[in-house]
Symmetry: C2
Subunit: 218 residues, 2 copies
DNA sequence: CAACGAGTCGACACAGTGTCAACAAACCAG
DNA sequence: CTGGTTTGTTGACACTGTGTCGACTCGTTG
């Protein structure tokens, strides 16, 4: 799933310690700078020059590490998604034992992970408007979630706790999109947006109502 | 509600017929060109120069009519929203007599209006990532819809057909956001997206389930 | 006819992007 | 230790797009 352009040519394993800061360090410095700057202003207002200076190199040196400023954001997103992937397993397990708590835990996980990287999420969203690669990356992430949710819904239906209704995949798509949209609105401080304190309640109410046909399964 | 920067200085009423094309005509020509070009490529790839040439003037003359290319899109959106506003009244009326059909009609209206201006919708969405004014305009549009839906939900609850549950405004916010997101995915041909033929069915199922507590009110 | 204002244009300054040839410093093979 | 290779780094350059300005045209109006 890792995007093809996330890293520059510096991919071999090296462990030296040289006088000048080595490639990997620079690469990390650039990413770090990006995360920092994105907390202050939108991606559109961050120039390659700013990124380079922040990492202590010249603008042209930047291009040695990344093909463009967008690629830095994509690398960052890639990393975030990998983190998220790890926590996923445990949540799925919980669903079998206690559905209500399980779904809620999923939403909370989602909320926690993205909430703690608001600036990055926003940059990724902004980028998707302009950049084909960003769009593709985000698409594949969404696809992954939809697939997971579809599977979970189908499992619940087979267990007999959830009634048949909308095609599971359609329902999953809509719910994942709802989450994405609603959480983004909150994180970016758009308006209208759900009240942040009640957001998880609101969303899980909608998820449960539509999946189980009522606000809580029997 | 009309955005403050939608039009250039040419705002007085004039009705002359001059040798060279007059201001209003040019203004319209620019907007028309914008709509045409946006059908071919995203806003980011449309330059002021292209807009100007399309309208038969030089790039610098363009600035006489609009302060920036973004302002053209905002003017277009403004116009679209005004159109939409007109059809709204009749739908609200229907809700009282037949709720299910009424909600469905709302969704269909939404779908029809925005579906027939996909390129513009996309440009507006793209712009929101970059442009503060665009964000503000879209926000106010969303606010309007949320207010309408909130009111409709409350009316249904007072009539006793819909049960109390989530705060009406929260529910309305989530549903409007769901619609926005899901329809945009379809129109922009993102993936994942709802199957277009079933989109209205899917959405109305979710609306009805969450508003009435079951897929159909008694 | 003179003054005015709407409309137009070319030239300019500016900001940002991406590329390139050339240079520097460490590393490694002989 | 020496000379070639790899890894980094740089300034200069070409290019694209934006927005501004002063000067010009040409109907309109007093």
């Amino acid at each position: 799933m890792t995007s093809s352009l996330e890293t520059g040519p510096t991919r071999s394993v090296r462990g030296r310690r040289t006088a000048r800061a080595s490639g990997d360090e620079r690469e990390r410095a650039i990413m770090q700078t990006a995360e920092r700057l994105l907390q202050e202003r939108p991606i559109g207002e961050v120039s390659v020059d700013a990124l380079a200076r922040g990492a202590g190199i010249s603008r042209s040196a930047f291009y040695f590490y990344f093909p463009s400023k967008d690629a830095v954001v994509l690398a960052l997103v890639d990393r975030l998604v990998e983190e998220a992937e790890l926590s996923k397993e445990q949540v799925i397990a919980q669903l079998a034992s206690d559905p209500v708590a399980g779904w809620r835990a999923s939403l909370e996980l989602f909320y926690a992970i993205f909430g703690s990287h608001r600036a990055l999420i926003r940059a990724a969203a902004d980028l998707s408007a302009v950049n084909e690669d960003a769009r593709a990356l985000w698409s594949s992430i969404m696809e992954g979630w939809v697939a997971d949710v579809t599977e979970m819904i189908e499992a619940e239906r087979e267990r007999g706790v959830a009634p048949a209704g909308l095609p599971a995949r359609d329902l999953a798509t809509a719910l994942v999109q709802l989450n994405e949209r609603a959480l983004r609105a909150i994180f970016v401080e758009e308006s209208p947006a759900l009240a942040e304190e009640r957001a998880i309640d609101t969303l899980s109410h909608i998820w449960l109502s539509t999946i189980y046909g009522s606000p809580a399964p029997r």
